[in-house]
Amino acid sequence: MAIIAWLRDPNPASRRQARLGQAYLGWLRLRRNPLAMAGLVIIGLLLVLAAFAPWLAPHDPIAQNLQNRLMPPGTPGHLLGTDDFGRDILTRILYGARITLSVIALVAVTAPLLGLIIGTVSGYFGGWVDGVLMRITDIFLAFPRLILALALVAVLGPGIENAVLAIALTAWPPYARVARAETLTVRNSDYIAAVRLQGAGSVRVIWGHIMPMCLPSVIIRVTLDMAGVILIAAGLGFLGLGAQPPLSEWGLMISAGRKYLFEQWWVATMPGLAIFIVSLGFNLLGDGLRDVLDPRSAGK
């Protein structure tokens, strides 16, 4: 096909062609990694299921039906059984995917942005600005993440928005480190000097010319971190500090099923499987992406 020949052209005519060509080669390498592809399929499936949850789900996620409570998996109409309020577990997991996805999306936008700003400012200005900002970063890195998130939610009050805020506030330091390292490598480049000679201010240089250079490494890091975000969000939900009933957040569903663990095992088991599969998907993809994009491991 013409487009593939264009992508594989060893003498790219433009910058864009070169970059897309590289991306294509990366994709070819990723495609050879079956585990990474499995991860991609899982995430793709999650997106589809979450998007079409209202059409796919056989029941209402919130409406209670006490006659049908605690039905085992395989009951006609309830593939994964029902919970203590007679709600279909499969339906609730499908709707829960939407909550998980929105938490991931919100954290994936806010935390890296905060980290990018702090890291680039720190690296660009250097000196005491760098010293102060990096010390703050170190302090946040010194806090165990889950515990800091717990303390923050305790202050802000339980709820899904506050859980997102707490996770984002604990997730930014690694991005700041990455962004600072990238900034240090480009800070003294000629193109930056050229932009500054044209009269661009610091904000413009950082926002328009340094941040884009940091994006690729930060994005890889984000993919790798998403599984951790899912687990922390589920942990907060499990402790009753994240999403509140009757929302069908997966961690919350596990904690509701805990009471029935020994007699009705499926109530706690099924949502946990969902968490496990999705975070495994992100881990598999992130792992493969790192192999593809990290030049140190590319030769192996």
């Binding site: 585990l35 010390r135 515990i147 717990l150 303390a151 305790a154 202050v155 663990l261 881990n283 598999l284």
Partner: protein
């Protein structure tokens, strides 16, 4: 790094130590500052929480003064730091007990769990990582990788529930939640002198082997699960460090000399793998202190994690923040320890 003329090697080492201590002090101060700020923006009035709602205006004012809440914020912070340095982390609203006292009672339980889990993680993770590194691309390598990634992806509280269901509920192989069977709980209280607060050590010292065995049956499941999580991390890092070393020229030399392969791997390469691996193990130990928060809730383990989460449920902020400070300090100290060990093992870092 140092362009100065040959000075005594001790001078450089002291300088390094000074810098490390300064950064430690700054980090700890920052830790206290963050906790202080979190504690001050709480919507709960600490005075009302102590005196109750029926207190008179005068009582409220008196308590406010006693707590130093009428001072400007920066002075309050200084008082807070001063108290913390003297070991006063505040008083729990729920129990009226000093936080430090409760925390130091809970800490050994967490430490015992995390230590055993780390031992399991190292014993399983290092050989698995080496196996994967020596046969890259083999079935064994893929299995180690997949098992590791699964460990990364598992919600630890869910794994705990499944473990309880399977090994306690269905198979009956292990003891259930708690540190001992109910029958032993009282006996432990009266018959065993708490020396370390760690149940395995104390019962062994007292010669109560029946209790020791019972304690193991309760400890093995949570420690095994946390050990699996730490194994996932350790095996992965061991693999990548070992791969890196096996590509070096001194390995080729050793092989060409006809040295047996086990010696090449476990003696020559391992010596160099050990250096970064120590940092990894210390880090995973630190994460276990944190990871135990959810595990302890599941297994009714009376450790630091349970203390913090129980306090959270009743809005006992001094207890939550005190516990947070203690975990944070343990975290920082473990990092420092790994840094010092690193200097000790790697001659280049001296």
């Amino acid at each position: 790094m140092t362009a100065s003329l040959p000075s005594s090697p001790w001078a450089g080492r002291l300088r390094g130590l000074g810098a490390a201590l300064f950064s430690l002090a700054a980090t700890l101060l920052g830790l206290l500052f963050v906790t202080f700020i979190i504690g001050r923006v709480v919507p709960i009035d600490p005075v009302l929480a102590i005196v109750g709602e029926r207190a008179t205006e005068a009582q409220i004012a008196a308590t406010r003064t006693a707590l130093g809440l009428d001072q400007p914020l920066w002075q309050q912070f200084l008082i807070f730091v001063g108290n913390a340095l003297q070991g006063d982390l505040g008083t729990s609203i729920r129990t009226g007990e000093p936080v430090l006292q409760a925390v130091s009672r809970a800490f050994p339980a967490t430490l015992e769990l995390a230590t055993l889990a780390t031992i399991i993680g190292v014993l399983a993770g290092v050989p698995a990582g080496v196996l994967a590194a020596t046969r890259p691309g083999s079935l064994a390598d893929h299995i180690v990788r997949l098992v590791g990634l699964m460990g990364y992806s598992m919600p630890v509280f869910w794994l705990g529930l499944i473990g309880l269901l399977l090994f306690y509920g269905v198979l009956g192989w292990v003891g259930g939640p708690g540190r001992l069977d109910a029958a032993f709980d009282m006996m432990y209280e009266f018959e065993v002198t708490p020396v370390s607060g760690m149940i395995l050590i104390d019962t062994a010292l007292a010669g109560r082997w029946d209790m020791f065995v019972n304690a193991i049956s309760h400890l093995i499941l949570p420690a095994g699960l946390l050990g699996y999580v730490s194994m996932a991390y350790i095996s992965r890092m061991t693999r990548s460090f070992m791969m890196n070393e096996l590509g070096q020229e001194y390995i080729t030399t050793a092989r060409v000399k006809g040295m047996p392969e086990w010696r090449v791997i476990w003696v020559h390469a391992m010596r160099n793998v050990l250096v970064p691996l120590i940092t990894v193990i210390a880090l995973s130990y630190a994460y276990l202190l944190e990871g135990s928060v959810l595990t302890e809730t599941i297994f009714a383990w009376p450790g630091l994690g349970s203390y913090i989460t129980d306090a959270l449920m009743v809005n006992d902020m001094p207890a939550v923040l005190g516990g947070t400070v203690v975990v944070g300090v343990a975290f920082v100290l473990l990092n420092l320890l790994s840094d010092l060990l690193y200097r000790l093992v790697d001659p280049r870092a001296r």
